[in-house]
Symmetry: C2
Subunit: 368 residues, 2 copies
């Protein structure tokens, strides 16, 4: 790594062909969303830090790059996340549009510090948000678009891990009361699958420690646990969504997973490539806050292009070398036939130097 000192930790150059592959993967995900009626929005890299913070989950701006704007003297922040900006657009400039509104986006997000789980400080976030609905029909569409996007991007065998972010709140407010001040620790112990910790706080929640697993079994266990029927509508919804997905998509359910779903409402999901430990993205249902305090339901997903590109197929790299002096109109014709042409601009240039796979011999295309 002779070049490791060139860039600050957590920042990287993407070179050929990785940069082309990443751009292609991003395009495929956006195209899957476009075909379902999602239209692009493109919020700016920087915003008023205060306004952005209000739409991020608690503490979300502590990891954002901030600077003082010499124009207005306000503190601005480079976005650490794009969905907060899309929510702002939906609530303000597109607040008058009939619902649901379907929006897609792709852009860079920046973190001030890296974490062990996310060592890159700059990432490309790409996704789609359905604003105005968080129903089963909405979630079914959004999960379906995410799966189509992954498949189009070359992830042949995606898997989805569902979660129920407001599970503990729902039970605690209903059949299994927990002291308000203990709810946070209970959630945390459940997320950690710490049976001893859960038993010490609220023993009635112990069965949830073992509830996670392959989808069908986990749903069965949860229905057995839920003798009160408090979770029936949620489990029915999950099964309805699952029924619409191709059988090639592996499904799991981890009902008490909380990490990263702090602002989701009844549904959360993580997207994986089967067999890969690294998450490709996530999504779920949530609430958007309008200026008048009104809350509006929404459903969406975000993917990280780097994670996709690392797994997606790169495709074939075909380059046709045009020897020095090849007439310009020959090149134009070959490009119109779909070839990538690389023209020799000096007599000494060669197909090898230009990584060409094919050569124009003056009359026909030949493989190198």
């Amino acid at each position: 790594m002779t070049t490791s000192g060139l860039l600050p930790e957590g920042f990287h150059d993407r070179l050929p062909p990785a940069a082309d592959i990443a751009a292609g993967v991003e395009r495929q995900v956006l195209e899957a969303a476009r075909l379902h009626g999602y239209e692009r929005v493109d919020p700016p890299l920087a915003e008023y830090a205060e306004a952005l913070a209000a739409r991020l989950k608690a503490g979300g701006l502590t990891n954002a790059v901030r600077f003082v704007d010499p124009v207005g003297q306000a503190t601005l922040a480079i976005r650490p996340d794009l969905t907060a900006q899309v929510a702002r657009i939906a609530a303000t400039r597109m607040g008058h549009h009939p619902r649901p509104v379907r929006l897609s986006y792709a852009g860079s997000v920046l973190s001030l510090r890296a974490s062990q789980l996310a060592p890159a400080r700059e990432r490309r976030q790409v996704g789609a948000e359905l604003i105005g609905l968080d129903s089963v029909a909405a979630a079914t569409e959004v999960v379906g678009v995410a799966v189509e996007g992954l498949t189009a991007a070359g992830i042949a065998d995606p898997s989805i891990d569902f979660t129920l972010p407001d599970l503990v709140d729902t039970l605690a407010a209903g059949p299994l009361p927990v002291a308000v001040e203990a709810i946070g620790s209970l959630r945390e112990r459940l997320d950690a699958k710490d049976a001893g910790g859960v038993a010490a706080i609220a023993p009635a929640y112990l069965p949830l420690v073992e509830a996670a697993g392959p989808f069908a079994g986990a749903v069965t266990r949860l229905r057995a646990f839920d003798t009160f029927g408090a979770l029936t509508s949620r489990l029915d919804a999950l099964e309805a969504i699952a029924a619409t997905l191709p059988s090639s998509v592996a499904l799991t359910l981890d009902p008490t997973e909380r990490h990263g779903f702090e602002y989701q409402s009844w549904l959360g999901f993580s997207l994986f490539a089967a067999g890969a430990a690294r998450e490709l993205g996530r999504g779920g249902t949530y609430l958007i806050v309008h200026a008048d305090g009104r809350e509006e339901p929404a459903t969406g997903f975000s993917l990280y292009a780097e994670a996709l590109a690392a797994l997606g197929a790169g495709g074939e790299r075909r380059r046709l070398f045009l020897p020095y002096g090849t007439p310009a109109d020959v090149g134009a014709r070959l490009r119109s036939e779909g070839w990538v042409t690389v023209r020799a601009l000096e007599p000494g240039d060669s197909p090898e130097a230009q990584l060409a796979t094919h050569v124009w011999d003056g009359a026909a295309v030949r493989a190198v």
Copy 2:
């Protein structure tokens, strides 16, 4: 403008359909470059400020957003320009690749302050660089790719304004000596077309004040002025490039235009849409500095996606509404036929609310 206070001055949301149009325009330019063998590089948004400054023209970093990296305590900068980063990649990580290397790029660049000429503080820069050559053949290819990119992006009638950035240096070092300390002011007075100012410094340069204009006439005037033959190779080169361009491209030559071409060598050019005053982008020949001090010639161009998108054709917006309850496989079939489908997720949804142009009536597609 009830929403003008939402974002800091110089930052903007792009909404549908503008965001889709801008993304499409960017894609078209990159595709034109790809067909000529240019491959994507994707440098990071932030770099070490010092390293970036060394590759920007003098003072280039004074207008960059900077922040202290909490990880290494170094000062980092958000890039105000992408070509400096592409030059870095070409000189370092791709320094060992056979030349010429063809690279393309697209990304956001950020300015700390806006200027009257460039009121946006965030812009999307897209372009292509040919590293290793600055010959007539190199310039011909690069100008040609720029024109193909503009045409593909919907600019039917591009125009090019050529300039000769090192004109004064060449003349002053040869047939028309000027005191070294006066060269800067001479360049400035020529750029300002200030005959009095030029006469006061170096009267021999006066004919250059009137040299600019439509291409053929300007070349003729310059050849008449250049009785010494100091400009012959440059003018021959310009005519050779011009001869390869479609006749629909309007050409002008402003030999003493300097502003924005401070780091170009023998050739500079600005790209316009005929009739529009606003520049779409620019390019030219320049030198890349390697770590060992070696200088390498290069040729390239950059376009600003916003300027293109404002002029480019948006195309037709076709959306097919699928009434509530339309089977999923019908939607899939219609999307595979190229339709953008917008599915009703509630009984009350309507084609009007979803800005649909067409409706599925259960058996066929009908226009709204």
